[in-house]
Symmetry: D2
């Protein structure tokens, strides 16, 4: 995996591979479809509990995508920062985003 | 608010008003837009942490919709079941969906 | 189960049976022991991840106790309030405590 | 901060300072007291919602201790592992414990 030299990229960022991007997009499109499915359920006046179960499934799917991004970020971008001696800021940023997620 | 007599509706369900449906659809459409926004961020190879912050915002928005549905369900459908002597099943179902949400 | 007539009790409260109290105390004493176990781990300079796993287990045990209390509260106290026509306040209070728990 | 050479310590572990240990013990003793407080509330047949609020406060306090341990672990132990070329295992372990916590 190449490190970022493209000026359009965040310097802290180890760019995603095409495979990673494709896989993420696929999962996000499925999540988008699930959200539209919930709209349909609301329009059809479907039972509250059935809608809640769907929303809970979307949350789980989103958390899974989030967790994978977090894992990849830690393995690539944070590790790189630590090795290059800029670990402190990178780890602080990581902890902040973990805190936000656990809310 | 009328109770359900329409045979297409779940009998346990106190139907949503048009206002409630509109407000839910509006919020779900915004969430759908946020999910598409994250897809764009992934395609543009945007910084992982910025994407994670967005995903965390979507989760919060979804949880808010879920919580409102839960509140309304408890106030209308569960209350109705309790008053009509069918509270036990309705409350068990409520507890199950709360457990699922807190995972 | 008797409804509360003892003036020392919260009027909204359906009192716990002795069996319920015993079972809760037993579980809370185990949790207290787990918390002391973590203190010992900290004093012994045990590995952070092992301590985190223990803390996560305590959280799970506490959530289980909390969920059981919530379930019992809904089945007994909230149902009673709904049947007696005081459901609105009771359900609002329930929703608030669920919101607090899901933080 | 010294790195661990004491054979009794986990090799992956950067030992806690006395100040860190004292502060953690103090917070864990407070949590232990809160758990005993909840036992007293149960014995006194206190209102379910008041107990739930207390349990939710204990959970928040435990999560705060857990988060601090996680932060310190990442800053010290994981960073050290990454710098010494053993980052992969250390980060995998970190991600596993974060996943467990977010359950």
């Amino acid at each position: 995996m190449e490190h970022c030299e493209d000026s359009g990229l965040d310097e802290k960022m180890v760019p995603r591979t095409e495979g990673e991007i494709e896989s993420l997009i696929k999962r996000l499109k499925r999540i988008e479809g699930q959200v539209r499915g919930v709209q349909k359920m609301v329009e059809d006046n479907r039972y509250c509990v059935d809608i809640l179960v769907q929303i809970s499934a979307i949350n789980a799917a989103l958390n899974k995508v989030g967790f994978n991004l977090l894992e990849r970020h830690t393995k690539h971008c944070v590790s790189k920062a630590v090795r290059e001696g800029n670990g402190e800021d990178s780890i602080q940023e990581l902890m902040n985003v973990i805190k936000q997620f656990s809310k």
